[in-house]
Amino acid sequence: MTPNQRLPFDLKQLHHSIDSIHAAFCRQEIGAEELTLEYLSRIRASHHNAFLCVTESQAVELARQADRRLRELGSEVALARYPLLGIPVALKDNLQWEGVETTCASRILQGYVSPFSATVVQKLLDAGAVILGKTNLDEFAMGGSNENSAYGPVLHPTHLDRVPGGSSGGSATAVGVGLCVVALGTDTGGSIRLPASYCGISGFKPSYGRVSRYGLVAFASSLDQVGPMARSMKDCARVHAVLAGVDPKDATTREFKVEPDLKRPIRLGVPHQFFGQGLSPDVSQVVKSAIQKLESLGAEVHEVSFDYSDAVISTYYLLAVSEASSNLSRFDGVRFGRRPLEAENVLDLDSFYKKVRSQFGPEVKRRILFGAFALSSGHYDAYYRKAGEVRELIRANLDQIFEEVDLIVGPVAPTTAYPLGSKTRDPLEMYLNDLYTIPANLAGLPALSLPIGVESQTGLPIGLQLQAQRGQDQLLLDSAIQWEDVFKDQQKEGV
């Protein structure tokens, strides 16, 4: 916000940035409650199935609190103290918020009310954010299209016959159609970046260990990370700044060495393997021209070699499903997990588990079975251990690349958003979609999806993926923020 930017705040405008809202608060053009009610009414009117639960009363209460703070502290002090004051946000429904239902889009958790709040949720609340509700996802974040939700698929923001991508599809669509300003997503193999790319919004997955996972219902613990999704990378960075940091409740969070600012042109690495077979010509062309654009803006572009693209999918899926099979063991209907009626009168434990766990959807069942198999004593060495070894090779390969370049750049996904139902019959085809996003998870890198353009025929958005070395989250975000306006013109504004 600059003082001479005196456009009045338009409540009905589709997208609001954090800055524009805060500027309006300062000018007292609007209050948090009014803003919140506007967003709540949009959610009610929406047919995208983006939200699983709308926390109206909590949201209004939080908005009133924000207005009180603005009034009592004065807007300047209030906004300095509460960096997200009054900002309408949404949570992916695999994040715990005390007192609110957390379903993970699964039948099995229907009715489960969180007894505690995730660290990221607490941090949002502490920063003054107004949480509007919980967004839809693929069941337990397993999927890339949001068609695996037990509560029905989420629709793409603009192309209602298309998928929004997954697994954070509810969050992506919510941001895309202006149902919230920012949404939290989670990313295990691309679940923030893929839907961000499909929906034409910005999505950021931090370095593994940068943001607490405490209160995120685990899919694959060594890969999961929480990140923001918003209309701009600038807003993503604002939210990330609130979320990041070591959490004593998550032993995998850690400090990262802060690198000094670059005193030279930024070096971009382009792995030619990311432009091979399977990549749609349209996406390839848009991504390549974006890279040329960056070069014209002063970036150095280097061709680099990522040698393990053939091994990425199998390595990732072996590790992810193995961890998932264990993480999902707790949904046994004993302490939580819905007990279907027919489970009440069984005589032995095995039948009880069978009835309860039959409630998982087919993709979740498939992954649990694969995972249990990969970890079983006769197969562990051939699968899980081998996958762990390949993961180390991939990590080393990427470390090597980052000795030569600052960022790795390439596509987020091979295609744009595809029609609903078109890939549901072949899980493998769906898995192949994650080829470009998975390496960042395997190596714990920060990575993001930046909207750079649209597919000529369909008008569907295309994202550019940027990845940095572990801990270089700020460099990555700063670079994307610097570039995002350049690409704004190339996208069709609005819906």
């Binding site: 958790l109 209160g215 032993a251 063991s329 707790r330 046994d332 004593s377």
Partner: protein, 502 residues
């Protein structure tokens, strides 16, 4: 055993779960330890739970540093190598009282490796037994079954444990017993375990197989699970050896299976066969970083270790001339050891010579007090009896003011009802008569009534004096000073005989 099954040899390996005496649980801040005298049953069910130990989705474990320190100390006290790098792993299985559907344990990279424990056996059979490994893990909750169904109490879930795994190197139930008692003595002496057997602080699984003597191959083993009394472990193993020998002799084979011991029937029975054993699908716990133990940390913990039971036994033997048996009893229970040392200190305050006091205090402790503790099956020391009482009793018996029998009565009285030594002696009339004027008439009366024995004594039968002393003690109601009586008898019957003999 050896004689009964001479052609067979038993091979025994033990896995002991030792509950660590940390205040809080291993992966969260919930209280884990019981107050002294408190039992698990006294704590309201599910009052010690949080999102982490109840396995709420999204909760994460954070390792309790104190638990690691206790585990390292247990490793150091058993001469283990402490791994600079060890890894937590998930052991996956379904059970209602296992909240996460997996137990966080350690698998192929445990914290401690290759230690040993010295076991005392009779007839020069004392020797080292190898400890293969010690790893850390969390305890599960408890299923409470009733006619209404099963209820789950998660108060115990997440309690820190170490599992101490011996090599299959023991060959008799008694050896297993010695190993367990020594391990128990060590972990309680260094304070990493409260040692409450009733509350399951120290639980043992025994792996038992038999083979033909001289064979190098191990026979098929069975595992006896969760026995929490040393005596029962010995009995269970003895039963199991007999059962297996019988099976082999009858031409059948031993089936690999997990068994439980029923003390009421003194028998083991099948819990599950090998085929039913779950595949635990171990893999490294992704929620916890690799556990790094620096040499500095390790050595700082080693420096904090107190004197170990074996060192104490050697010291007691060389400094105080105590027997192997006595020192074994003194160091078996931390409470007893501490009581002994405190009583010795009190004795020196009273100006008693150290070695004499040590012997006398030991006698009280190993006879009167260890017996009382054993009678109540490992019941703790009486709250009434203090080390100062023992020192006082040693002083009085040395002075002749109290007989040993009288002292034991004083102990019994204070043990049950409390009080002070002097007051109990007075109220029970236990003061020993060392007054010659009072004793001489008694001595003469008895000598007169026993002419046969007197004659025998005079003819050189030295031993008869014991009988005569006994008669006089009886007459005095146990209050006479036996040393003095003996002197008086000799005086009465003339010293000549004694001198002639020598």
């Amino acid at each position: 055993m050896t004689s009964t099954f001479s052609e067979f040899e038993a091979v025994i390996g033990l896995e002991v779960h030792v509950q660590l005496a940390t205040e809080s649980k291993i992966f969260c801040g919930c209280r884990s330890r019981l107050e002294t005298g408190q039992t698990l049953a006294d704590v309201r069910p599910n009052s010690r739970v949080c999102p982490v130990c109840s396995g709420q989705p999204g909760s994460l474990p954070v390792l309790n540093r104190k638990a690691v320190e206790f585990a390292i100390q247990a490793g150091l006290a058993t001469e283990c190598q402490i791994a600079e790098r060890s890894v937590f792993a998930r052991k996956n299985y379904f059970y209602p009282d296992l909240p996460k559907g997996y137990q966080i344990s350690q698998f192929d990279e445990p914290l401690c490796l290759k230690g040993r424990i010295w076991i005392e056996g009779a007839h020069q059979t004392s020797r080292w037994v190898t400890i293969e490994r010690i790893h850390m893990e969390e305890d599960a909750g408890k299923s409470v079954h009733s006619s209404d169904g099963t209820q789950i109490n998660l108060n115990r879930a997440g309690t820190p444990l170490i599992e101490v795994v011996s090599a299959p190197e023991m060959h008799a139930p008694e050896e297993a017993g010695s190993y367990l008692r020594e391990l128990y003595a060590i972990v309680t002496a260094i304070g990493v375990c409260d040692g409450n057997l009733q509350e399951g602080n120290f639980r043992c699984d025994a792996n038992v197989s038999v083979r033909l003597r001289g064979s190098n191959q191990l026979g098929t083993r069975t595992e006896i699970k969760n026995v929490n009394s040393f005596r029962y472990v010995e009995k269970a193993i003895a039963y199991e050896i007999q059962r297996q020998v019988k099976l082999i002799r009858e031409g059948g084979g031993v089936r690999q299976e997990t068994r439980l011991y029923d003390p009421d029937r003194d028998a083991t029975f099948v819990l599950r066969s090998k085929e039913d054993a779950p595949d635990y699908r171990y893999f490294p716990e992704p929620d916890l970083p690799v556990l790094q133990v620096s040499p500095q940390w390790r050595e700082a913990l080693r420096a904090k270790l107190p004197e170990l039971p074996r060192q104490k036994r050697t010291r007691y033997q060389t400094h105080f001339g105590l027997s192997e048996y006595d020192t074994g009893v003194l160091t078996a229970e931390k409470e007893l050891t501490e009581f002994f040392e405190a009583a010795l200190l009190e004795s020196t305050h009273l100006g008693l010579p150290l070695a004499d006091a040590a012997k006398a205090v030991t006698n009280f402790l190993t006879q009167e007090i260890a017996r009382r503790m054993k009678e109540q099956d490992g019941a703790p020391m009486s709250a009434h009896l203090k080390p100062a009482h023992l020192a006082e009793l040693v002083k009085r018996t040395r002075e002749g003011a109290l007989s040993i029998t009288g002292a034991k009565q004083v102990i019994g009285e204070i043990w049950l009802r409390g009080g002070e030594v002097e007051q109990v002696i007075q109220s029970k009339g236990l003061a020993q008569v060392s007054d010659i004027a009072a004793l001489i008439p008694l001595v003469r009366e008895v000598l007169n009534s026993c002419p046969v024995q007197v004659a025998e004594f005079k003819s050189g039968k030295e031993k008869v004096i014991g009988f005569l002393v006994g008669q006089i003690m009886k007459k005095s109601g146990g209050k006479a000073n036996p040393g003095m009586i003996q002197q008086l008898i000799r005086n009465e019957l003339g010293q000549q005989q004694e001198e002639t003999k020598s």
